[in-house]
């Protein structure tokens, strides 16, 4: 199975993301990377949990004052829906439907960009209304680092998927780029997984007290 081989929907292998040794290696290597990222985010979560509400002056904003349901719900929905759209894109990839895959990847990117937009608005709101900044307190430093690192990962993921889409727009699917799309999609799911914990631990637990 040569990587440059042209396929039809009928001859396209069942698991294109694992059809070559290179693909299998990328696949495994990326899952291992996600294992390491799990530990990385766990360390950030741990830091946040121990520094939550640790402010130098009791009159400063605490978690209870800052977080609100509507905004966090919107952000969560945007990211969760973008996860299912990326699954749909992979479904089309398995069926050798390149244009449909590209379309659903584009939707994923747009939803992700929307998520980042809400986060920027949210941070701006905290800074201007509550003077809750990165340097104002340990709580602020921990919050912006944890949520900010996640946002940074989202931004990186968007650039990654966009790059793949643009680079391969003239080529169609083949065994060289199929594993690349699959790995990018795994990354996207992982950041959604991290967000599930962020909205639970930071926002929901923050609002509960």
């Amino acid at each position: 199975m040569h990587v440059e081989e042209q396929f039809t929907p009928k001859t396209w292998p069942e698991a294109p993301e694992k059809a070559t040794l290179e693909a299998k290696n990328k696949f495994l290597g990326f899952w291992l990377f996600l294992g390491g990222e799990t530990v990385l985010f766990a360390s950030l979560f741990a830091t946040y949990i121990s520094l939550k509400d640790k402010v130098p002056d009791p009159s400063m904003a605490h978690a209870k004052d800052l977080f609100e349901l509507p905004l966090s719900f919107l952000a969560t929905m945007l990211l969760l829906v973008s996860s299912i759209t990326s699954v749909y894109a992979m479904y089309h990839m398995k069926n050798f439907a390149f244009k449909k895959m590209q379309f659903w990847l584009l939707i994923t990117v747009l939803l992700g960009a929307g998520f980042l937009g809400t986060e920027v608005y949210e941070f701006h709101h905290y800074v201007t209304e509550f003077h809750h900044t990165f340097t104002s307190s340990a709580f602020g430093s921990a919050f912006y680092t944890l949520v900010g690192f996640h946002g940074g990962h989202v931004a990186f993921g968007l650039l990654w998927i966009l790059t793949l889409m643009l680079r391969n727009s003239g080529r169609g699917l083949n065994l060289y780029n199929a594993p690349k799309f699959y790995v990018a999609s795994l990354y996207w799911h992982f950041i959604d997984v991290v967000w599930v914990f962020i909205f639970t631990v930071v926002y929901l637990m923050g609002m509960v007290g």
Binding site: V3, E4, L21, K24, N25, L28, G29, L32, F33, G35, G36, E37, V39, L40, S43, L44, A46, T47, S50, L51, K54, V55, P56, F134, T135, S136, S137, A138, F139, G140, S141, A142, T145, W160, T163, L164, R167, Y176, K180
Partner: protein
């Protein structure tokens, strides 16, 4: 990245017939070490980021006035720091597990238990980090838990020591330089290990903490373990890497002077520590009772320096003389690497070998074969493309680190731009690497046949 690379290679790319339990011990230790690397470095990364944010951007993670807490740093650092020492020692164990069977002409005793012990050490390594924090005030319960967990690591380590001893027992021993290092490793590392158990007793540690007793302990395990392994491995693998053989006489001189120097330097430090000499103080008043001990230590250091210089001379002489050696210069190689030329061709194996058991090459030799049994006919080999981009990406991060380190020192302002430029180079490198096509290339059958005029073994 290095960890992931080794893990994927070991999991996905083993030769036909090589099950996990037929891998050489060095491969097993590399496997467990790589898993440790994968999981231990992220907490360090986080800790370093937090500290950099505090220094560069005024964050309050470790500033008590802003609500921060310095214990966070200690936990993050030692969650990395303890697995790190197992990252250091497990490959050393692997090297000794290769050398000892070769020069005992006997297979490794207790292979399965060695594998089990290695995995257990790796796992337990993540459970004990707070033994670096006994005096911080975590409380009696926490201290007790970590103390006991630490002592349990002595068990699988002891298993390994016994297995090495049983390998040598009854074997046809040949005391070449690598074997001398291995034999010296056992008591030296053991001494470091037992002082480790002493330190693990949390109440006793209140006395040892921050004294030279600790310094003596870790130098015994690191020098007696890791450095001996590096020196042994250098001598052992030199012919395989470079095609020449280091001089045995000079090697033995290095060994004896380094060994004596090492013990002179660090044994006395146990007592210096018990007498109360603290760590991290650069100058002491005279007549504190510490002068003689430190002098002996320094003499030992001179011995070690001498040994190392002799080794460098050895390397220079060997390189200049350039007497080439064959595939299996030690004569008793047991594993696959000794079946191919020294140094190996860049594609390593002309034909993938068929692995029939542990110590694959030994099996073939005992059956009288001159070459490995191949698993495939001679054909084109597909090789990956080379690329400078990974070096560019790491170079970018290297530059960025300098920006972060020096930002704000003595009022300089170039720190932040250098940081940004460095990260930019790294990201650009990643972009190009993703966008550029890397299909690899083929080495054709004809070129392989040309190589040392060998027709290839018929599969």
């Amino acid at each position: 990245m290095g960890g992931i690379n080794f893990l994927v290679t070991i999991i996905n790319m083993r030769a036909p017939g090589m099950t996990y339990m037929r891998m050489p011990m060095f491969t097993w230790t590399t496997f467990v070490t790589s898993a440790l690397i994968l999981f231990a470095f992220p907490p360090l990364t986080v800790g370093l980021f937090l500290m950099t944010f505090d220094r560069m951007f005024g964050a309050q993670f470790f500033d008590v006035a802003g609500g921060g807490n310095t214990i966070i740093w200690e936990h993050l650092f030692w969650i990395f720091g303890h697995p790190e020492v197992y990252i250091l020692i497990l490959p050393a164990f692997g090297i000794f597990s290769e050398i000892i069977p070769v020069f005992s002409r006997k297979r490794l005793f207790g292979y399965s238990s060695m594998v089990f012990a290695t995995v257990l050490i790796g796992f337990l390594g993540f459970m004990v980090w707070a033994h670096h924090m006994f005096t911080v005030g975590l409380g009696n319960v926490a201290n007790a838990i970590f103390a006991i967990a630490t002592m349990t690591i002595a068990v699988p380590t002891g298993m390994k020591i016994f297995n090495w001893l049983f390998t040598m027992w009854g074997g046809n021993l040949k005391f070449t330089t690598p074997m001398l290092w291995s034999v010296a490793f056992i008591p030296s590392f053991l001494m470091g290990g037992v002082t480790g158990v002493m330190l693990a007793a949390a109440p006793a540690d209140y006395q040892y903490h921050d004294t030279y007793f600790v310094v003596a302990h870790f130098h015994y395990v690191i020098v007696g373990g890791v450095v001996f392994a590096i020196l042994a491995g250098t001598q052992f693998y030199w012919p395989k890497m470079f095609g020449t053989m280091l001089n045995e006489v000079l090697g033995k001189i290095t060994f004896w002077t380094f060994l004596i120097g090492f013990h002179l330097t660090f044994f006395i430090q146990h007592f210096l520590g018990l007498m109360g000499m603290p760590r991290r103080i650069w100058k002491f008043l005279p007549n504190q009772g510490l002068d003689t001990g430190n002098l002996i230590s320094s003499v030992g250091a001179a011995f070690m320096a001498f040994g190392v210089i002799v080794m460098l001379i050895n390397i220079i002489i060997t390189t200049v003389q350039n007497k080439r050696v064959g595939n299996d210069p030690w004569g008793d190689g047991r594993t696959l690497e000794w079946a191919i030329p020294s140094p190996p061709p860049f594609y390593n194996f002309k034909q993938l070998p068929l692995v029939r058991g542990v110590d694959t090459w030994w099996i073939e030799k005992m059956e009288g074969k001159k070459e490995l049994t191949p698993a495939e006919p001679l054909g084109d080999i597909h090789m990956p493309d080379a690329s400078i981009l990974p070096v560019v990406i790491s170079g970018g991060l290297f530059i960025a680190a300098f920006g972060a380190l020096y930002h704000g020192d003595k009022g300089n302002t170039w720190g932040l731009p250098v940081l940004i430029i460095g990260i930019g180079i790294a990201l650009l490198g990643m972009l190009i690497r993703s966008v550029k096509d890397y299909h690899g290339f083929h080495i054709h059958k004809e070129e392989l046949l040309e190589d040392d005029k060998d027709k290839g073994v018929k599969a």
